[in-house]
């Protein structure tokens, strides 16, 4: 039985009708149509689905979409300003933080949450914060460099 609700994603309200068991990931990808967040493990172990819920990181595969009504959901699509990439996105590209790109939306969201909470993290703090986002390609080196560059204001 579908329940009507409004999901506010990247500042835009979307009227939806969802089965109660629908995850926030499924709702955003399949109903709202924003496919930046990825399904990796579907059980909160890889972070590919990470979004922000009122600015705080959430593994959207394991969060019921209906519970997000009344909150601000931020996805990777909400980081850029039109065609202007965010400093983190630019830094990821410049520092080798992207290879296959599958972890990238989750990593950007996770890093955004970190820098909002802790604007000048140490490399270790960056590593701790990003530990919920698995990456097989990059060994995390380029990603951590990118986040540190942004936090130190040395990225564009």
């Amino acid at each position: 039985m579908k329940i009507p609700a409004t999901l506010t994603v990247n500042g835009v309200p979307y009227p939806v009708e969802l089965e109660p068991g629908t995850s926030l990931l499924a709702a955003v990808r399949d109903v709202v149509g924003l496919t930046g967040a990825k399904e990796g493990c579907d059980d909160s172990e890889c972070g590919a689905c990470m979004m922000l819920l009122d600015g705080r990181p959430v593994n959207s595969c394991s969060y019921l979409a209906l519970q997000a009504e009344g909150s601000e959901v931020t996805t990777v699509e909400g980081l850029a300003d039109g065609d202007q990439l965010s400093p983190l996105q630019t830094a990821f590209l410049e520092h080798g933080g992207v290879q296959c790109g599958f972890c990238t939306p989750g990593m950007l969201i996770s890093a955004t949450a970190l820098l909002a909470d802790c604007p000048a993290p140490s490399a270790d703090e960056v590593g701790i914060a990003l530990s919920g986002n698995l990456c097989r390609c990059t060994g995390y080196a380029g990603i951590v460099k990118a986040v540190l560059a942004v936090s130190r204001g040395t990225a564009d």
Partner: protein, 199 residues
């Protein structure tokens, strides 16, 4: 394609066994002469000339072993590769960072565990443990760009596979140095390192 089409580039195993000569694949240039293959029953050999331009790799690992628990932390890895001419430094470095971290996972925490019926006991990422960002060490990279005959276009050689090859060996050697005994099974989990210490 009709059901009766002939696949002229295919050969059957029977035909290959009966062939006088071994056959070679072909890469970007003329195929060099291969030494004779003594292996009996060998059906054929695929000789790509890039196989005659191997990569040379050396990894060094600095590890810390918690002697009481067997937990190993990799503090730093140095990785030097000869992969011929590097065409894209960011891309090539990226392969090494990723490969080394995969090698650390192979060395210390990644392992498919099977039960008696061949089913995976650890099908979840909680228990098939990839290295995360908080356990990835500093990795120092350098390239030795030699001019290797039979290398690929512009003198480049393969970069994707080599970086995850020697890391586990370097870590195993480092652990053996600390513990005084070798762990001979991957992954070298804390329990296995601890067992090796018990003698």
């Amino acid at each position: 394609m009709s059901a009766t089409a002939q696949f002229v580039t295919a050969t059957t195993v029977e035909e290959a066994l009966a062939a006088e000569e071994t056959f070679h694949g072909k890469g970007a240039g003329p195929v060099p002469e291969s030494p004779p293959a003594p292996a009996e029953g060998c059906v054929g050999r695929l000789g790509l000339e890039s196989f005659h331009a191997p990569q040379l790799i050396a990894h060094a690992a600095h590890v810390r072993v918690d002697r009481e628990t067997g937990v190993v932390r990799v503090l730093r890895v140095a990785a030097v590769h000869d992969c011929g001419r590097i065409l894209n430094r960011v891309g090539a470095d990226g392969q090494v960072y990723g490969g080394v971290v995969m090698g650390i996972g192979q060395a210390l925490s990644e392992g498919t565990q099977l039960d008696g019926l061949g089913r995976q006991r650890n099908p979840h990422l909680l228990d098939y443990k990839l290295v995360t960002a908080s356990d990835a060490p500093e990795i120092a990279i350098d390239w030795v760009e030699t001019d290797t005959p039979n290398a690929g276009p512009k003198g480049s050689k393969g970069v994707g596979e080599p970086p995850c090859v020697p890391t586990a060996g370097a870590i195993a050697n480092a652990i053996a140095k600390v513990v005084g005994n070798r762990v001979r099974q991957l992954p070298m989990t804390p329990e296995r390192v601890w067992e090796a210490q018990q003698g």
